[in-house]
Symmetry: C2
Amino acid sequence: MERKAKIGTTKNFAIGIDLGATTIKTGVVDKRGRMLDHFSLETKANKGPNVVLQQMVFAIRELFSRYDQENCWGIGIGSPGNVNIEEQVVRYPPNFTDWAGVAVGKAIRGVYDLPVFIENDANCAAIGESRWGGGSEFSDFLFVIWGTGIGGGIILNRKIHRGVFGGAGEIGHISIDYNGPDCNCGGRGCVESYIGQRYLSQRTKQILEHDPEHRSHSRLSRLVKGNLNNIDPFHISKAAEEGDKVAREIMIEAGKFLGYALASALNVLDLHTVVIGGGVSAAPQFVFDAVYETVHGRVLKTHQNNLKVLRAQLGNNAGVIGAASLVI
Amino acid sequence: MERKAKIGTTKNFAIGIDLGATTIKTGVVDKRGRMLDHFSLETKANKGPNVVLQQMVFAIRELFSRYDQENCWGIGIGSPGNVNIEEQVVRYPPNFTDWAGVAVGKAIRGVYDLPVFIENDANCAAIGESRWGGGSEFSDFLFVIWGTGIGGGIILNRKIHRGVFGGAGEIGHISIDYNGPDCNCGGRGCVESYIGQRYLSQRTKQILEHDPEHRSHSRLSRLVKGNLNNIDPFHISKAAEEGDKVAREIMIEAGKFLGYALASALNVLDLHTVVIGGGVSAAPQFVFDAVYETVHGRVLKTHQNNLKVLRAQLGNNAGVIGAASLVI
């Protein structure tokens, strides 16, 4: 982490906070969406709201030791769970203990006399990609986060479409098979239950368990040092990129599953551009090709000509930059 | 059809035209969305654009023989196919011959010196239900037309959400099974291929063919006078209402299929209210109950509490009233 001299008195940056279940990522972002500095620390989500809020304050304090608080426009926060942006209250973020309803905005404003904005984390990333990333050329697109789970955000006319309760864009809970596997959400056949981290890892493990040859000698099994319980989508994607046949097939199949869900979403929304971010945005091009071909083959004919499936460009910084963009 | 005296000189009505593949429905609609008079005639869609446009002009002329053109605000048209509302051009309405791109608005304005507005027919019906029908209490809802096919419209903040090319709300082409039956649209497992008129009729026919007892003695077979080729959703719905067991099972199953698709749509859009119109809006309450229960069982928990599945209220007039509302 780079230390910089404190700069002038004119306000010239925002702080963005990406509140994750394991890590709080924070950054100093300028008016062009460039991240000038960053700082991350553990969320300690299992310790309850007070500890997590303390961690957030600690991270902000660290950034203000590098950049003068007087030059800061404000603080933007991207949070999982259900976010009430007016009351700045966060409800039930998955894997956070005791979060029935926490007034995150009020808590931060109680410490720093700065404007505070808060938004759903997927929406933040969508806003970031819209302003400065893979969607900046498009006034309307569907943003997909493909990581631990599958989330998303809908950009209409360059603005986030929040829906009635701020939850629009739940791409992961489009069912692609009404008789499909049970999903955590209570539904069945949700695309998240085919290509979310847990399911993708399990599926890969099962295939390798039935393929002793591949299990012992493949690139994939070397990446996890033979321990199939350690397989995660990062390994699958990396092995696929390096030519591992099983990994490649799994990633292409996953791309197709995502494509089935996206075709339904694009038909309903009349959108033609998809920007895919999250961990998988680093996946090899053939995964994106599989998504594109599947959507193209399934979507309404009027949507086919203009169809675009693009890679997000802000990578892991999308959350922080998008959160900062709430302020800027 | 009631003949009325020509009334005053103050403008006080709009003409609404619901352009269907078999029938052109037109009506005189006042500022409160009440249909004061109506007139229908054959579309002759197989005769090409000029004949259809002549039919539209003929219908308008008939209404103007009853209501003074000088009192008319303008003409609103709801059309199937892809509708460019700015250029007022209609492209490829299904079952219309030679409609690569027809300037419907210009043609009507060439005959009547009145403002002309045109919109997708499903969107018109959604607008009608939003202003004066089953959705009038809700600022945001999903409108579904369940008839020959399955269409829909998305009302956000009391306005129609058109999407990039005016095609938003294509509920019928949400896939509920990526391995499902081929759909006319080129996709697979679209809900329209489970509950559209053609498929529902075929399915019923197949069941009866394998059930000789029911085929010969049921309410359903009496309704079609024993000719299973004449079964349409109206008969199925009517027989179901009158206690026919097979018909009832089929309608409940269809309600469930629709529910699977709606759960995905509501998750993506973050909407909680569905208004169902089209021919099936006359179906017995247990069909609506099946839709409600299925959506409730599948949709995200945050959406369950506020979920509403309602019957459209404008019935067969929704298209005409919605088209007129483009003017009013």
